[in-house]
Symmetry: C2
């Protein structure tokens, strides 16, 4: 019996998110099917967390228990042979039997891309939030810093979130610009349901003047989702990396 | 009568190249159709040069003569309303009547992307040459410099090229690396048919040890296409920018 940890890259465009669902194409479902084709085993693949429909990943992490006799570092090639091209296993290794992809998460990094130009870009449509009006980038760059530190993120998460404790720590939050592409990076100990997309929607609302500057701390204290900005669309979001102890 | 210059971005994946062809989807054909829908005029759109099926552009340039009474800088929005999403006009302006997108080219920049990793990447398949064997990047970085300067590029162009003069000047040729992505940039006064793709194929053949180092000058002098490397696939190639006097 071996515990195999895999790192997964996926273009989420054509999937109904991470979690297995009946009659829907999902990332977890596709990988479990590939594991069955490779090993003949029906495993339960444990992911570091769910991602929504349309969200992408560059370093999603998961693990599963198997009895198969393939060298752990070759499992990635075996699975890739059975997976659709928009899902790739970039790494596979054996880990101790008590490793759990969700419980043992220490930190996660998410990236979010906004394409800010009047004309839509033919390459970035599936991979960014197309925003045609000019955003005040310098203001957003300053305002993103309000998210840093330990806070109750109730205002910045979906009411559908079923996490009881809404406290999270953001270690790093920064905004970068490369031509018309704006990239936000969040590094934190955990993220609530829709949290990155609501933080981004709020920053965009500040950048276009719909929410006044300096409001984020007050929105945060209100513990009221209604006071934060809109939920930015899924296609700009990338799960970049998951860190473990 | 006005001469309108447009800058075009396109994802070439779904097109049979730039040039208008009967019963084929082409970039020129799609833009001419959009111009007809916007202006009611059947124009001849002049491009800076052809691109092959599957080749992309970030700054293709073209011009057309029109009598339409739309402010030149608004024409881009009008055309984008009629174009498919993988073709976008990023700029439109009026230029003097003697401006010709092909005859007046002074310099062009092409970019080529190679994805060099054992595992294919789910995002870069349509936009790079997936090469699974490890390439000697440092060697390729040195060897690309042999292309610099004025040379007869017969060995590095398709025999189907109908340019009589095969002399071209490369002002800049460099290789950059960002993780598993290798990017080549060529800046020159003109490029023969398949020239970038054969230069890249030759560099890849050097990087994997199929062609010995230091051979490029001898291949160049031989004026023999057979001695150069393979023709790299179209999907890694991007026409980055076209410069005029």
């Amino acid at each position: 019996m071996k515990n195999i940890k895999i790192i997964i890259e996926y273009d989420g465009t054509n999937y109904s998110g991470w979690q297995r669902q009946l009659n829907q194409d999902t990332i977890q479902g596709e990988i479990e099917k590939a594991i069955f084709k490779l090993t003949g085993e029906n495993v339960n693949l444990i992911g570091s967390g769910r991602t929504d429909a349309g969200v992408h990943a560059l370093g999603q992490t998961a693990n599963f228990i198997t009895d198969v006799n393939i060298p752990p570092d070759k499992i990635k090639f075996g699975l890739n042979a059975f997976l659709p091209h928009d899902i790739r296993i970039s790494d596979s290794e054996e880990v101790s039997l008590d490793f759990h992809s969700r419980y043992n998460v220490k930190r996660k990094i998410y990236k979010y891309l906004i394409y800010n130009r009047a004309v839509k870009n033919p390459f970035w449509g599936r991979y960014s939030y197309y925003f045609p009006q000019r955003l005040n980038y310098e203001l957003m760059e300053r305002e993103i810093k309000y998210f840093l530190g330990a806070h109750d993120f109730t205002s910045f998460s979906s009411p559908k979130s079923n996490s009881k404790d809404k406290n999270r720590i953001i270690y790093n939050a920064l905004l970068l610009k490369d031509g018309d592409l704006v990239m936000a990076i969040f590094d934190g100990n955990g993220f609530l349901y829709n949290m990155v997309r609501i933080m981004i929607g709020t920053l965009v609302d500040i950048g276009r003047g719909k929410i006044a500057e300096g409001q984020i701390p007050f929105i945060m204290k209100s513990l009221d989702r209604q006071r934060a900005g809109h939920t930015a669309p899924p296609q700009g979001l990338f799960l970049e990396k998951v860190f473990y102890e």
